[in-house]
Amino acid sequence: MTARALNVLFLLIIPFLMAGVINRVKALAGGRKGPPLLQPFFDTLKLLRKGAVVSRVTSWVFAVAPALVLAATATALLLAPGVGRVQTIAFDGDIVLCLYLLGLAKFFQLISALDTGSAFEGMGASREALFSVIVEPSLFLFAGTLALVSGTTSFGGLFTLVGSGAWPAVAATTGTLLFFMLMLTEGCRIPVDDPNTHLELTMIHEVMILDNSGPDLAFLQYAAALKMYLFALLIAALVLPVDIAPFQAAVVLPLVALLCALLAGIVESLVARFRISHVPQFLFLTVALALIALAAAVYFRGGAV
């Protein structure tokens, strides 16, 4: 019960802190003091107090999309393994629902961008769709590999890597790299996207939400931060020991999430944004990592799969 309550509490706080840590690291790397760590939270509060301006060419899709994207992403997070790998909501096959909820959120965000009738937003939606086509198979492939090895389709058991030999090490390493790359991609971070860019031609996620304002914009920005937290949770589930005590997990889990944010900030400070044409190549690396994990599951477990 306590673990579930902590999961919900962390869901409300840590995504904002992660965004704040990334901004602070980038500022420090640039020789500036940077905004407070909770600045993204204050920005969200400010946006929630504002009214929304809606274009007359948009339909009901544009109106419901932000709330739906946030609801789907938050529900997906409740299914993910949290403190001590305890899920807030758990049942057999919950990983399938989680992945489909993320897909649903992505679908509504894309058609919401197309609904505005803006050529720029259509361009952003097209790019986002292309990147999703590359990224989502890797996620499904890696999750499928874990499901085959563990014999379960529930998130809690799926990420409990037990046994000896090369397989747990391969799964933990490839999975951590894979989820970190997905965190950067789905969180709209450099080197895939730049959340601070003001040049429409180079935008991906930001150009899709150009027409959103007020609470709608706050919902979409919070949903992007939630996705980053989701992948940080999956990394934590892979790397933390299986027998970690609940109170230790409650302390270590936020630290792992903030460490992921710190690393993302360092990457953003050191690496230039890729050209759009190079992003699919970079993202294909996630598929390669998932395939390596699958091959390791087949060969290093003596054909147990």
């Binding site: 090369a166 090490a169 391969v170 933990a172 390493t173 490839t174 790299l177 190079h278 699919p280 190549q281 970079f282 294909f284 690396l285 598929v287 390669a288 990592l289 395939l291 390596i292 091959a295 390791a296 087949v298 060969y299 290093f300």
Partner: protein, 213 residues
Amino acid sequence: MSQILTILFGVGILYLALTSRMRTYIQVIALQGFILFLLIARDFGKLDWFTFFFLSFETLAFKTIIVPAVLWRIVERTHVARETDPHIPQFGSVVIGTAVFLAGFAVTDWVSRIDPSVDALPFGIAVSTLIIAFFIILSRKKLITQVMGYMLMQNAVSLLMIAMAVELPLLVNLGVLLDIFTLLFLFLLFLGKLHSTYEETSREKLTSLRDQP
């Protein structure tokens, strides 16, 4: 921990298959050298002190620091920032690299069934890295990239030796060291001279070489 380091060693060369920046190549070569050093440091106590000192010095000083530093200097001097037009595009290289990794694991499975004493993961990663490095040499046009591919092969051979046996014959170690020395001489003489004649150090430019009339 050593298994995680070994996987990072392999992922490094997979990343190289998709990148075109020379400095990234050098950084990965240095990272692989450091990983080799850590893998040898793990065997502290299992090796005699001379072999341990020799291998540690070779991997840390040469593979991690000196060779990358020389490569860095050459890249700056020749102004070759990236491999712009490889024979096979970067995307194709990653696909082929991934296929090589999968095949490498299959070979490892086969070898480890024949000889269970072989450490399967380093062996598989080393074989895959060796083939991908060879592929990089074949698919890239710049001379400097091809030499870097050779360095990657050297790193793969070192990992392979670690996978095959803990106690490495001294002769093999000296051979590796000789390779490094030869490489440095080749770099300093050959690339320096070549750059003074040609602006580009591309292999294709060599086809225009002919005797003076």
